[in-house]
């Protein structure tokens, strides 16, 4: 499990703190990398500067992706990831957003989201969600291999 990394893409610092606290509470061992806008996610996944060093900036096991983001929206990031020719296209992406609108939910699945979570309203619900997320995506799900075939 030590090579498992969660990439949290969230621009609101208050939401970042809530998620960090919820994951700490459920004992998530996997490191949580946080990025605040869509362009940074693309740079990170491409390994563009300042993210060239894969040892320091490893590819994530799963991405928790907000929809409303500065510069490039979550859906644009999702479409970018799924259009890659390399194994990056297979990274599981879980949308994590305050929107509960069916147009957003349907649009996310159409663009290739693996799952869609609506940000809960209470801390207790967020902790329960963090626990279910950890159990499912970190412990249970088989992640695709992300290394390029030689």
């Amino acid at each position: 499990m030590e090579d498992r990394i969660v990439l949290l893409v969230e621009d609101d610092p208050a939401d970042v703190r809530l998620v960090q606290r919820a994951f700490a509470k459920v004992g998530l061992q996997a490191p949580l990398v946080r990025l605040g806008n869509g362009d940074d996610v693309v740079a990170y996944l491409k390994g563009d500067p300042p993210y060239e060093n894969r040892a320091a900036y490893p590819l994530p096991t799963v991405i928790l992706l907000d929809i409303k983001l500065p510069r490039r929206s979550g859906l644009e990031v999702l479409e970018w990831v799924r259009a890659r020719k390399n194994p990056v296209r297979r990274i599981p992406i879980v949308m994590f957003t305050s929107s509960r609108h069916s147009t957003d939910i349907n649009g996310a699945y159409d663009a290739g989201a693996n799952s869609y979570l609506a940000k809960p309203e209470t801390t207790a619900q967020l902790v329960a969600m963090a626990e279910a997320f950890k159990t499912y995506w970190i412990h249970l799900n088989e992640q695709p291999t992300l290394q390029q075939a030689a």
């Binding site: 699945y109 609506a118 279910a132 159990t135 249970l140 695709p144």
Partner: protein
């Protein structure tokens, strides 16, 4: 957290022993009545596309989740997944591949074909119960479900 939607899990498994064990695990996880068990790819496609007796959507609602064994007697599971993803009626339905194979190539192929998740079949009864409970907890209680394109009603918040 979600209010559980009154739509079934479509569970696809051709091996009777495996199916029986899994159905017991679903029962333990509290969803015994919300499972439709299919044994062939043809049956799955008929159900999903509403052919024949499955045209009655009140009796056979669009599933909230498909749990798919890749080895089926009549149709490779990946082909079935591709067929689902190519049709508007079925392209958004979350599919968890449930497989005895942990081969990297198979896992990659499943994600490329549009699997939402890939879960290895578990060995012991305890592991199976935990796996099924986690699947149910995540996909029924946490995940937000897409609508089939024909049903464009907004869901209650």
């Amino acid at each position: 957290m979600n209010v559980r939607i009154n739509r079934p899990i479509l569970f696809v498994e051709d091996d009777p022993t495996q199916a029986k064990l899994m159905m017991r695990a679903f029962e333990q996880a509290g969803v015994s009545r919300g499972i439709f068990h299919a044994t062939t790819g043809e049956q799955v496609l008929s159900y999903l596309n509403g052919f024949g007796k499955y045209s009655d959507r009140t009796k056979f609602p669009t599933p909230v989740l498909v749990i798919l064994d890749l080895r089926l007697p009549d149709l490779p599971g990946l082909q079935l997944l591709n067929a689902m993803r190519s049709r508007p009626e079925t392209r958004r339905i979350p599919v968890v591949v449930f497989s005895g194979s942990a081969d990297d190539k198979m896992i990659a192929a499943a994600y490329d074909a549009g699997a939402n998740s890939y879960i290895p079949k578990s060995g012991t009864a305890k592991e199976r119960a935990e796996t099924v409970a986690a699947i149910v907890r995540y996909w029924l209680d946490m995940n937000r479900v897409p609508n089939p394109p024909s049903v464009q009603t907004a869901r209650a918040v």
